[in-house]
Symmetry: C2
Subunit: 345 residues, 2 copies
DNA sequence: CTGAAAGCGCTTACAG
DNA sequence: CTGAAAGCGCTTACAG
């Protein structure tokens, strides 16, 4: 690694000032054609590239955005991230990715690092712990000091900023309704997450559907399995002691693992028990039976969030800031883990 | 967004110099306890944080690394990235993620952006196009001007730098051997990638195993499906016209999709046809039958690559640079898509 | 104990 | 047509 070439170097070799070199490279009309030519040629030959850190300091813009997600080993977040990366790159922004692993202190320390000029704006999906403790002052501090935030998926009403969400309530309602319409009466909800706003919304949507269709509510088959508890044990216990003819898995793992366990116990899917999964994975096509799921259009969600963020970053100073909450529509992808809809419903 | 507080602001409020404030905040012994105290208190109260861009410019270190991958919607790269992110964060580095989508010009333009002080070092898995065209000058330029590179998985011998790879040759040999030992004789290889070094290595390992076990080689069942060709059609044609009793999928998609297609045609897996996949996915547990695969320990690969890179970044100037190529060991995870090993082999 | 100066690499308004 | 100056936010060796 040799020394990177700078304006100073070029200035010295031609015995001109740094300012002249700077202008020459920008093809300024202030500079004579002769000097422009020789400087540009030399710069090209030596692969001169302006130092982006220096420009950041000057412009107070880093042309990079940050993304903080609870996990990256979760297909939903991977796809969202993919969407974010795409539009960021199109618009000339770099993206710094940070995984909070659901931990509040990781979230806070990351934001502190990013807060000092490193990024022009932040995309964040809240950590479980931030939601559980309702701790958001680090976000407000960021907004005050560093730039705009757009929250996606796991958001909080307490933070006044732009948001992109999935319509979790209706989405759960639709899934539940679909199960009811295919003849299910004892619909369980299974999740490995708790204390997260979206889970509450999904359960509310589920409950509403039950009420609307005059089905009884059985709290014992709303199975939020807390960390530390064994999924398999919890699920088997439920299947042993409760009547269940359908399971809505609130994330991929819960759905696919529930299906496996039920099948191992001899249940036929979907005849004995139907399965629907929140979050769509390409792999749901490949299970036996293939799994009916809700497509949350996560790539699109990522793109939308990034677009909003960048437009906020680039809006002229003094523009009145109006915050919007965009809801991404979901689709039910019908596969073989649910019974066909009865026509005469 | 208000104005971020700087040393200048603090200096002005206490009528001292910027230098004094800087030293006071570093708790320098040069400064009187009284001034240190009031300055520190004020800074804390107003949430002062040194501007990291300014520090980067000063130190010529940005404490961030770049990662360029061909794809992020591929579980192998996601896991590798996860490993990278983990150690980078432990060691206080930010990571900028860039997806090349297999395109050379995206790879080049990204490197140009990153080259100018933005990152201290780069992790890269080559794009298909860079490998196909054997174009690597952008990497050499980066190494010359910006900092160390560590290549992972898709590497090139032509670039003199550190590398972390999977032992693709032996890995394919092992997989093929396993199939032979379970009684397969007509082993096909299926991949949607071509022109990539690792694919060549895998095929070489496969061929070597066939030779060692005195099995005939049938080039017609080495099925490298080029972009634009329909996977299903290609695979069906092969199954129709060639004798095949095992398929090695060189990436997840090829394996799982091949299994589906074979099953749709009435093949029983593994009795009629065995399946092995390169790259391990959590989902392989959930297919019927579950899929035997090669675990490439991709998270570990990412961690290793990041560790090497950061050690290179942080090594004192003038340290003799010795490049190493680290090979990550792979494991065969036996599941139900292959027949059990016969004991008396 | 405090501060002026130089510098990291750049840009731009202003003089000459 | 060219350059000196000021500045982005910081640090550090050197004077006083």
């Amino acid at each position: 690694m040799k020394q990177r070439i700078t304006l100073k170097h070029i200035a010295k070799t031609f015995n001109v000032s740094i300012a002249t070199v700077s202008k020459a490279l920008k093809d300024s009309h202030e500079i004579s054609v002769a000097t422009k030519l020789k400087i540009q040629e030399y710069a090209k030959l030596h692969n001169y590239r302006p130092n982006s850190i220096a420009l950041s300091l000057l412009n107070k813009k880093s042309k990079t955005i940050g993304v903080i997600m609870p996990s990256i080993l979760n297909p939903f977040f991977v796809k969202t991230f993919s969407g974010i990366e795409q539009v960021a790159n199109e618009k000339g922004y770099n993206v710094i990715a940070i995984v909070s692993h659901g931990k509040l202190d990781k979230e806070i320390s990351s934001i502190i690092v990013l807060e000092n000029g490193l990024i022009d704006g932040l995309l964040i999906s809240l950590s479980e712990e931030a939601e559980a403790k309702q701790h958001f002052s680090h976000l407000e501090e960021f907004i005050d000091n560093a730039g705009p935030i757009v929250m996606f998926d796991r958001v909080s009403d307490s933070v006044n900023t732009d948001k992109v969400i999935v319509d979790d309530f209706n989405c759960a309602y639709k899934a539940t309704e679909h199960l009811i319409k295919t003849g299910c009466k004892h619909i369980s909800v299974v999740s490995t997450l708790d204390n997260v706003g979206i889970i509450k919304l999904r359960i509310d949507g589920y409950l509403k559907a039950l009420v609307d269709y005059n089905l009884p509510i059985n709290r014992k088959i709303i199975n939020l399995i807390k960390p530390g508890y064994d999924f398999e044990t919890e699920l088997k216990t439920m299947l042993d002691y409760q009547e269940v003819d359908a399971i809505i898995g609130l994330e991929e793992f819960s759905a696919v693992e529930s299906m496996m366990i039920a099948q191992d116990r001899g249940y036929i899917v979907p005849d004995d028990i139907s399965i629907i999964s929140f979050t769509s994975s390409d792999f749901f096509k490949y299970t036996k039976p293939s799994i009916t799921c809700i497509n949350q259009h996560s790539v699109f969600m990522g793109k939308t969030a990034a677009e909003i963020l960048i437009s906020k970053i680039e809006q002229p100073l003094g523009t009145e800031t109006v915050f919007e909450t965009k809801t991404i529509k979901t689709t039910l992808i019908e596969r073989k883990s649910t019974k066909p809809l009865v026509n005469n419903y």
